[in-house]
Symmetry: C2
Subunit: 170 residues, 2 copies
DNA sequence: TACAATTGATTTGCATACAAACTATATTAG
DNA sequence: CTAATATAGTTTGTATGCAAATCAATTGTA
């Protein structure tokens, strides 16, 4: 019972380290491209799902709609995306990449697809697979009690690209 | 080469999920105790190292000094910690828990040690050990290129409580 | 049909998180 | 001993990130 605590402490500590490392990657991308990690992530996701609703984008990014609104605001200010009010359902806002946004995705695909995680690309495929398995395990165990309840409320809450985590989906 | 990318994508996605889950835990603690996850983390770390310099606290929390100043500001406003200008070196500020801060740590140890990760406590010791091993693996691989260089610049950058990650320390 | 409940996006307020610039103090070099 | 440099902490400005409240539009229900 009580001897779990140091283990939990270590897990959290190590997660914080990983956060830090990924954060540094993100800052590096920001220095090199002028846009932040989350913004890049959003642009990539918009590109893959264009046009996309704010709420769907939030689901795909695992972020709160509020947070996404802020990111979209800043991308719109840089003229990389644009908002379009839906005519079918006037509550809905469709988000699209502008020409400039598309240029960003196309002219530097490695920025969007790879540079974000450039630090990871040097890792061997075998080790990547192992890490992948570890992360699935983490998500499965951590997320079982936490994500599943959400699905009851919002069937759209995704877990999508990598759905073979033992059907948390349905 | 190129087939690494979907794996990397999945890893990042899963990490984001874990972030979200831990974030929810943190919010839950905030609702229950009135102080946030990072604040709780800081209080616990101050308790274990009291009195501690701002810069050392930043190192122990893996955070930027600026960020720590903000957290300390808010803790001071709640009368949980206090600042004391060093007489030896008047640039240094020592941070201590107030009586109220000590009460918080002592009267509710499970809040500090366990509630932060209450969701994890229900997990079996075996599974925890497995997760722990996974995280060490992640940190070892992710961090090898990233943390090591820092040690050259700052010997204090820690990796402390759990130093048996193959001596990244020294 | 009218009214309640729900949904989609936004606004507001706050807490992280960091970089860059700044202040004060201490150390080092010439 | 003085000027340059380095260090410790803070201030300022910006970008996430979320909760709660709000507004508009749609859906469900009586």
């Amino acid at each position: 019972m009580s001897d779990k605590k140091p283990i939990i402490s270590n897990i959290i500590d190590n997660l914080r380290r990983v956060f830090q490392i990924l954060n540094e990657q993100s800052k590096k991308v920001e220095r090199e491209t002028g846009i932040t990690g989350p913004q890049l992530w959003a642009i990539k996701t918009i590109h893959e799902n264009s046009p996309v609703k704010v709420s769907d984008l939030a689901n795909k990014l695992y972020l709160h709609p509020t947070t996404v609104v802020g990111i979209i605001d800043r991308l719109e200010k840089q003229n990389l995306v644009e908002r379009r009010r839906s005519k079918d359902d006037r509550r809905v806002v469709w988000i699209d990449l502008t020409d400039k946004g598309n240029d960003l995705v196309k002219s530097a695909p490695e920025v969007v697809q790879g540079l974000l995680v450039s630090g990871l690309e040097e890792i061997s495929a075998n080790n990547l697979t192992e890490i992948d398995r570890s992360m699935k395990h983490l998500v499965k165990i951590f997320g079982a009690q936490k994500i599943a309840p959400k699905l009851i409320l919002s069937t759209e809450f995704n877990i999508r690209q990598d759905a073979n985590i033992e059907e948390l989906d349905k």
